[in-house]
């Protein structure tokens, strides 16, 4: 009996570990769009490993794992550099010959997974993506969200506005209004457009009325807006604040933005990424990188067990982390009810 036969017997089975006596370890590659310091990537990877384990695949016993950081947020930022980095990633795929590839965030999907699957349709190498804000149907390798049709599937990343607003309303039953703040980066533009399209135009009976979505280019504009809305709204919704420029045109550090805001505003902030609360804002209701990773890890296990990625719907897994910063809560004089606090996956006691 040769190894190929054994592999086929092992992995065409149901997700259990029975019969998984293959002599050859499966190979898993994780490609992150950003760098090792990006906490989203680290937590996603942890989730993938745990999700794989749920399907009976244990790291270094059933599969070997290789991770590659494209580093397209800090170092390789121009389109040419990203392309070059994508070519390196494809070389790694050719050398490592993985059985499955996880791609994290838009650049890894756009520059690696989609072109590779289009250029090598016969290889049918499964790609599973996560952290995708954009609409993946725009890529040729993906037919539709319901039925991707090819070897690329995965999970969408959509900010959980409804749940965030509901939670805020639960804590402050009399609150009615929120304003959203964002910088003017391209990703912020996308977020604002997506918010208008996917939330404002899609949902009825929002728990909070969104009175404005304000985009600012400078830190000075941010300051003025924070002061302007003090008496107009009940919450500050924080989308992005990492690309605000100072008078000289330099990017203001996020910590400076947070520090000024919490010292000059009496409005509780609601962020949509976990690190917003970690940075010092009052709360964050955001997509959980770990849980999303676990979800796509389970999908990966299903695929290794024989499921066709072409028939796995691309969904928004809607896995949310609720995070509070109690130091900021104390500054604002807010007592978070115990049952709500119990929902939190993380609580920060101090401002970063």
């Amino acid at each position: 009996m040769n190894q190929d036969t054994l592999k086929e017997i092992s992995f065409k089975d149901t997700g259990s570990t029975e019969g998984k006596q293959s002599y050859e370890l499966r190979k898993v590659l994780i490609v992150h769009s950003y760098d090792e310091d990006w906490s989203w990537d680290i937590n996603t990877e942890k989730g993938i490993i745990d999700g794989f384990e749920d399907k009976g695949y244990i790291l270094n016993m059933d599969y070997t794992l290789q991770t590659f950081y494209m580093d397209t947020k800090k170092t390789y930022v121009t389109p040419e550099q990203i392309e070059e980095r994508a070519e390196q990633t494809i070389d790694i795929i050719e050398d490592f010959k993985p059985d499955i590839v996880f791609v994290n965030d838009d650049n890894a999907l756009k520059y690696v997974a989609v072109p590779y699957s289009i250029d090598n349709p016969d290889k049918k190498l499964p790609f599973i993506f996560s952290g995708i804000n954009t609409d993946p149907e725009k890529y040729d390798g993906i037919d539709s969200l319901e039925k991707p049709g090819h070897a690329v599937t995965g999970a969408l990343e959509r900010f959980p506005y409804y749940q965030a607003f509901s939670l805020a309303k639960r804590i402050f039953p009399n609150a009615t209004k929120i304003v959203l703040f964002a910088d003017h980066s391209s990703s912020s533009n996308f977020l604002v457009n997506a918010f208008n399209e996917r939330y404002l135009e899609a949902i009825n009976n929002s728990p909070l009325e969104v009175i404005d979505v304000v985009q600012m280019s400078t830190f000075q504009e941010w300051k003025e807006s924070v002061e302007e809305y003090q008496n107009k709204t009940d919450f500050l919704g924080i989308l992005t604040y990492h690309q605000l420029k100072d008078k000289e045109g330099n990017v203001t550090s996020p910590s400076e933005v947070v520090e000024w805001t919490i010292n000059n505003s009496n409005l509780p902030e609601i962020g949509f990424l976990q690190f917003h609360a970690e940075d010092g804002f009052w709360s964050a209701v955001g997509i959980s990188a770990y849980k999303t990773g676990k979800y796509i890890g389970r999908i990966g296990g299903d695929i290794l067990n024989g499921k066709d990625p072409a028939n796995i719907s691309i969904i928004d897994p809607n896995l949310v982390d609720v995070v509070f910063n109690l130091a900021r809560s104390k500054m604002l004089g807010i007592d978070i009810p115990a049952d709500i606090l119990g929902l939190a996956t993380e609580i920060y006691q101090e401002i970063k």
């Binding site: 319901e146 039925k147 991707p148 959509r158 959980p160 409804y162 749940q163 509901s166 939670l167 639960r170 899609a202 949902i203 728990p207 849980k291 676990k294 979800y295 389970r298 999908i299 499921k307 072409a310 028939n311 796995i312 719907s313 691309i314 969904i315 928004d316 897994p317 809607n318 896995l319 949310v320 049952d339 709500i340 119990g342 929902l343």
Partner: protein
Amino acid sequence: MRLNIQIKVIILIMIVLLIALGANTSISSIQFQEDYRDALQTGVVNIGENLKETIDDMLDLGFNLNNIPGLNEICKDIVYRHESVDYCFVIDTNMSVLNHNDPSYIGKVVTGFTSLTVDSNQEVTVDMYSFNGNEFYDFALPLFDKNSKYIGSIRLGLPVDIIDAKLNQLVGKSILLLIASFVVAAMMSIVLIRSTTRPLRQLMEGTNELSKNNLDYTIEIKSNDEIGILASGFNRMAKDLKKSRGELEDYSKHLEKKIMERTKDIQTKVDELERFKKVVVGRELKMIELKNEIKEINTKLKEGHFNDLD
């Protein structure tokens, strides 16, 4: 009605094409419907499993199933985010609704659903249900407490008409594609058939021209197929015919000339004979005259009239 070859071939091609495309569309539609339903069901199961994980986390934190904060909002969030999910609710073992995307259902007892009989089997079950006149695939994900006791279930509804709508959309696209393919194929076959029958028509015209003695008519066919060979044979035949006719005309013209020459020769001979005849006749007359003169002289001599002799 008489149909020429062109029309016959086009009709034949269209029929074959229609059958092939129709069969392909039918098979593809059936396959797509199955794949699409599987994909949607997988998606809904995944959504349900993610919700189950969230609820399990809450249960692990010590919340009771009937008192998990924010679960109604999560259910509503799921329904508004996913077109494939029409309802999302949580029921206890008495089939009483604990949480629902539509809070007006909370506290009501659901009837018509089969209660899950799950003790050790934690698999998702799928059944078809009709609700408010609409059909749903109902996905039930059992929930267990810390002691693995069955305490309720998550129910997610996938509307059957989504699959039908998608299939109709696909069939609509297929029909459009079929029509487009049909038109393109028809145009191509017309072009192809015309390119085949045009030389035949030229050959027919050529034959007509030949019958009208137009031997200069040639057919311009550059193809190397049988029709091309036939056309070049026709051209060669016309050329040979023309050559033969030319030769015949030449011969005819030559013959006339020869006849004229011969006629002229004969005329000359006739003239010569005439002249000869005249000479001979002249001489004969002269001889007669001479004979008469001799006879007269002899007579005179005999009669002694010597003075009368000249």
